[in-house]
């Protein structure tokens, strides 16, 4: 295979012959892990007889833990000894091992790329001709450029850490190898997504990660709620994928190609701000809104928390949900000539940011807070890439991957500890409800410290990672509101400039809310008195090192991750704008087109904006710290229901109920009443299938009536027939 690949990749690129020629192995390693772990899972499932305790365990836990919302699979049975999966040891080596190898290879490629100096064109490896149909010539090809390199580092890096965390978190689950098989497969598809050299290869990855997301949300599928959450994610994503497909069709119909490079070259022939490019961009954004959980398609992401917590960290926070941001950065050359579409992206992003943040203010489930926070942060990223600040958006993608993965894994540790404590006493309290936590700082100091780092980062407190990226997004929007191609465009008669200022305002308010709800989460979880229960309290402790270790690495990244793109005013920290220079060959031209040669914002204004952002962050934290009183909280079972607007927030503005009434019920009703009873049972079954049978039977009945058995009748028929024939011959 290797010589073939090398021959296929023949060309003179600076990366030719370096570690980058092993690019194909990066996604292939996780795929190999998927095959091996999947084999473990199938083999062990095959050998498990009815008396096998692991099987009984797997079948029963859904009912037995019915009162727990989720998170029960990780921690064995209440009554008899936990029996680990027979292949648990091998899986623990293979699952994270392939990811580690993949990451090492990615790092090697990165250093090769770093050493090769300025690389203006992407390094493309063509493997085979995939779909040569008429004018459509599609290759199975990977493309390595600075953007996909960075995504690969995030995916394999954060992915490896989360795989290691999963070893501790999931080790007692009866579906342990199945879990790692899915997780490996996810990484494979995610790498396909970022490495694809044309839209269809990317789309394969796009759909593949959706499938893995579905499989992992419904990992504990014996609970109907989990299976439903998986289906919801899958179906909502289909709506977005429809947009992606339409955009691809439009691109092919008008530009005649789907390769990123060729589309980029051909996009110069598109009219600036024309209807065609705007339509393409809006359809692409529909796809992004589905995958990256933006209004109106965000509803699946909070429900996706039904999956295991490491899955939430990897798929529903760090990598998959950022695919939409990646797609817009990748197709920045299209968006930068469609300012109206850019306004839409920015506004949807800003609205999502503030909408989700406000819901996050009143959630009690620790993972739901983080889920809405993810939706909100994704909104920020779209504000960034939508306004043409591609570097800022992608920068936030990276830092968010660090701190949100840390937050999710930290909450995983908390849930793990809570669940284990309840498990010891056989209690059936909710292990995810913050009202049952409180004061965990004393029992879990490591988790406490690391999660505070992440909280400060997401709130935007310097010098943590989130500060730099969020500040760059907000600064970018503000600068573009003053002068850019977007500011000159109009949507609904309102100038783009006004839209962008509005988006900036929303972003600032959302930042305040972010700081508030994150601090609220930290205070309710880790501070104040403990509400877990007297018997359970003594079992609370930090997670084992296989889980805390990855947290520590992520903590360091959260602390220092912002330094990959240091702004001008913080030059003392290191080289300024490293990420910006790194990504310049990919998004530089698009960015320049959007800002249209505007001058840099004046230093005074920039300091003002940064100062405001920091003030907002600290204000939000201070507001939460002073207004919230963890002592007045009572455990979940004693809590009184909320009233008024608080209840509206807790119930997520009733969006799910509205969708149910406006979309789901009519669709189900139409399907049931018209399509099933009317068309399927009535027309197809009744008329077409049974009708044709009835007709055949009727014709047969007529024939059988002719068959009287009376010889006389037959003779008569014969004679009349002969006479008719003779008559016809004679008359003619």
């Amino acid at each position: 295979m290797l010589p073939l690949l090398q021959a296929a990749a023949a060309g003179t690129h600076p990366l030719q012959g370096t570690a980058a020629s092993w690019l194909w192995a990066v996604p292939l390693l996780p795929f190999l892990g998927f095959l091996i772990n999947g084999a473990f899972s199938i083999v062990s499932a095959y050998h498990a007889g009815p008396a096998d305790p692991t099987l009984a365990h797997g079948d029963g836990h859904g009912d037995r833990h019915g009162t727990h919302d989720e998170e029960h699979g990780a921690h064995g049975d209440d009554h008899h000894q936990v029996k680990r999966h027979p292949f648990a040891m091998l899986t623990s080596i293979v699952g994270p091992g392939v990811l580690l190898l993949s990451f090492i290879l990615t790092a090697a490629i990165f250093f090769a790329m770093h050493g090769a100096g300025e690389i203006a064109t992407p390094f493309i490896q063509r493997y085979f001709s995939w779909m040569p149909v008429g004018d459509l010539k599609l290759d199975a090809a990977f493309q390595l450029d600075q953007l996909s390199m960075m995504m690969m580092l995030v995916i394999t890096g954060v992915g490896t850490l989360i795989h290691f965390f999963s070893v501790g978190y999931m080790q007692d689950d009866p579906g342990y190898p199945r879990y790692f098989a899915y997780l490996n497969l996810f990484v494979f598809f995610m790498l396909l997504l970022v490495l694809g050299a044309n839209f269809p290869v990317m789309f394969i990855g796009w759909e593949g990660v959706g499938t893995c997301s579905y499989l992992l949300i419904g990992f504990w599928f014996s609970d109907k709620a989990n299976a439903d959450a998986g289906k919801k994610a899958f179906i909502v994503n289909r709506i977005g994928d429809f947009g992606f497909l339409i955009a691809m069709f439009l691109l092919f119909a008008n530009l005649g190609t789907l390769d990123f490079d060729a589309v980029r070259a051909a996009s110069t022939s598109l009219q600036f701000g024309g209807a065609l490019v705007t339509a393409i961009c809006l359809f692409l954004f529909l796809g992004c809104a589905g995958k990256s959980a933006q209004i109106p398609l965000y509803v699946w992401l909070p429900d996706a928390m039904a999956g295991p917590t490491p899955v939430s960290a990897l798929i529903h926070a760090a990598t998959m949900v950022t695919a939409g941001v990646y797609l817009i950065a990748r197709t920045g050359f299209l968006f930068s000539i469609a300012p109206v579409a850019q306004i839409v992206v920015v506004m949807i992003g800003a609205l999502t940011a503030i909408f989700a943040a406000s819901i996050g203010l009143k959630q009690w489930d620790i993972k739901k807070v983080l889920a809405y926070s993810t939706v909100s942060q994704l909104g920020y990223m779209f504000v960034g890439v939508g306004s043409g600040a591609y570097v800022a958006g992608v920068f936030h993608l990276v830092t968010h991957a660090f701190f949100k993965a840390l937050l999710f894994l930290g909450s995983g540790s908390v849930i793990f500890a809570m669940h284990e404590a309840y498990h010891h006493t056989g209690s059936h309290e909710d292990a995810q409800d913050m009202r049952n936590m409180g004061g965990l700082r004393a029992y879990m100091p490591w988790t406490w410290a690391l999660m505070w780092i992440a909280t400060l980062a997401i709130s935007g407190v310097p010098p943590f990672a989130g500060f730099f990226s969020k500040d760059e997004i907000l600064g970018g929007v503000f600068a573009r509101a003053q002068h850019s191609t977007i500011a000159d465009a109009h949507l609904f008669g309102i100038s783009g400039s006004a839209w962008l200022y509005f988006a900036y305002l929303l972003g600032i308010v959302a930042a305040f809310m972010t700081a508030t709800y994150m601090t609220r989460m930290m205070i309710y979880t880790f501070h104040g008195p403990n509400r877990t229960g007297d018997k359970e309290r003594e079992h609370l402790h930090d997670a084992p090192w296989i889980m805390t270790g990855p947290l520590l690495v992520l903590g360091i990244l959260t602390l220092a991750g912002g330094w990959i793109n240091i702004p001008e005013f913080a030059r003392f920290l290191g080289p300024v704008g490293a990420l910006e220079r790194w990504l310049d060959p990919v998004v530089g031209a698009s960015t320049q087109r959007v800002i249209a040669g505007a001058a840099e914002t004046s230093p005074g204004l920039e300091y003002g904006l940064v100062g405001l952002a920091v003030l907002i962050a600290i204000g939000g934290i201070a507001y939460a710290a002073t207004r919230l009183d963890p002592k007045s909280l009572v455990p979940k079972r004693e809590a009184v229901p909320e009233e008024g607007f608080e209840k509206v927030l807790l119930d997520k503005y009733y969006v799910d109920e509205i969708y149910d009434a406006a979309v789901v019920t009519p669709v189900v009703g139409t399907s049931r009443g018209l399509l099933w009873r009317g068309v399927d049972a009535g027309l197809i079954d009744g008329l077409a299938v049974n009708g044709s049978a009835l007709f055949a039977r009727f014709v047969g009945w007529i024939g059988s009536q002719l068959q009287s058995g009376q010889l006389g009748t037959y003779a008569w028929v014969l004679v009349i027939g002969v006479l008719c024939v003779l008559g016809a011959v004679t008359i003619r």
């Binding site: 068959q707 009287s708 006389g712």
Partner: protein
Amino acid sequence: MLPEALFFSAVLFVIGVFGVLIRRNAIIVFMCVELMLNAVNLTFIAFAQVYGVAGQVFVFFVMTVAAAEAAVGLAIIIALFRHRQTVNLQNINLLKG
């Protein structure tokens, strides 16, 4: 001579046809079939007077076949009678659909 012969054979044939159509007794029906065959034979003979001897050869063939048919047909009717105690065709309708 020819027209008279043809007319006579046509009358014979029609009598045979009507016999087959109207009568119920299997033996009579069978005899009517023979009548039709012989009407055809008569036609052959008549035409043989004009067009040559080939018609007469056909007649021999027809008579041979008719003899064989009579043997088989009568045997069937006898078997039928032994079985059902009747040769009335209206009662013999086992092939009713």
